[in-house]
């Protein structure tokens, strides 16, 4: 359990540095550190599927962010943050967090122990008992996301498809040329 506290401390320190630093490149690197810390946490929680996805997406996102920050002329953030607004937002978030701790203190299971160990009639019990027989997939995570919950995957694919269509329509060469002619 101590490894989770070490990772959590690492993630929190990286997040604070990512917000507070003036250099954009070190901010991006700190965001990458947050992602890799989260991936290690998933790995120690015995969720290798999510850990693999997290690492891979983090690498790709880091490449995009570094390319975007390097190719810009402005790599340093200038100007101070507004002190009053920061204090107000920190107080509000802390109040919501403490209220949530108070409300959910008794009903939530411990960190790292899934909910089906406590609730016998949880839906995941059915998946674990009958998943191999009904779907034939040895990896139960895949059998959930592509068989039991395939609608969610279809929605995710539709979201990705729509966003790619939007991005390519806005950023393609032809539309930009037309904009330049208008200017």
């Amino acid at each position: 359990m101590a490894i989770f506290y070490v990772l959590l401390l690492f993630i929190i320190i990286a997040a604070i540095i990512a917000v507070e630093t003036k250099n954009l490149l070190s901010s991006v690197i700190c965001i990458g550190a947050i992602g890799f810390g989260g991936s290690l946490m998933f790995l120690f929680l015995r969720a290798p599927d999510i850990a693999i996805t997290q690492v891979v997406v983090e690498v790709l996102g880091l490449i995009i962010l570094i390319r975007a920050t390097i190719s810009r002329d402005l790599t340093f953030i200038s100007g101070d943050r507004e002190f009053f607004g920061m204090v107000v937002s920190v107080v509000i978030i802390l109040a919501i967090f403490l209220a949530g701790m108070k409300v959910f203190d008794t009903s939530l299971p411990d960190f790292g122990s899934p909910i089906f160990t406590k609730v016998p009639e949880a839906a995941s019990q059915t998946y674990i008992e009958q998943g191999l027989d009904k779907t034939g997939a040895a990896n139960l995570v895949t059998s959930v996301i592509l068989d039991y919950r395939a609608y969610d995957t279809l929605g995710e694919a539709a979201v990705l498809f729509t966003s790619i269509i939007g991005a390519t329509v806005i950023l393609r060469r032809k539309s930009r040329k037309r904009l330049e002619e208008l200017d």
Partner: protein
Amino acid sequence: MAQKEDISNGTKGMTVIVKTIASWVKVLIFLFGIYIILFGHLTPGGGFAGGVILASSYVLLMLAFGRESVEENLPLPLASKLDCLGAFLFALIAILGFVFGGVFFVNFLVEKYGQPFELLSAGTIPLSNVAIGLKVCASLFLVILTLSMCCKDFRPGTPSDGKE
């Protein structure tokens, strides 16, 4: 970046060291992505993670050799066609479930072939993994390709450093 002075005279991209390592490693990354997709129903991984790995192999090529060499390999119209093909295959599997099994997205092939823990098993799940992997690979490649075009063309005054 530090590699702005191009050592390999005239050609675009990064230094010779980066190009050599990238030309060795690209095949391994691509094969690993295909392995993650095809064995998604047996080992950790799946269509999404494998597709992102495939896209990252293309991104490695784009960073090392410049955008033009990647566009020769996988042009933008072909990438968008592959994207549409992946989405179409995934929807086709769902509709075939409706035709043969009576329910949208039903796993209609699960009894037909294979035992559990074999490569050819689990019905439509490997086919869906392949479709999603194709789709994710093509669409993330498209994102990075269009973003790199955007970076280059929006700053016409600065000299091109060739890696975009």
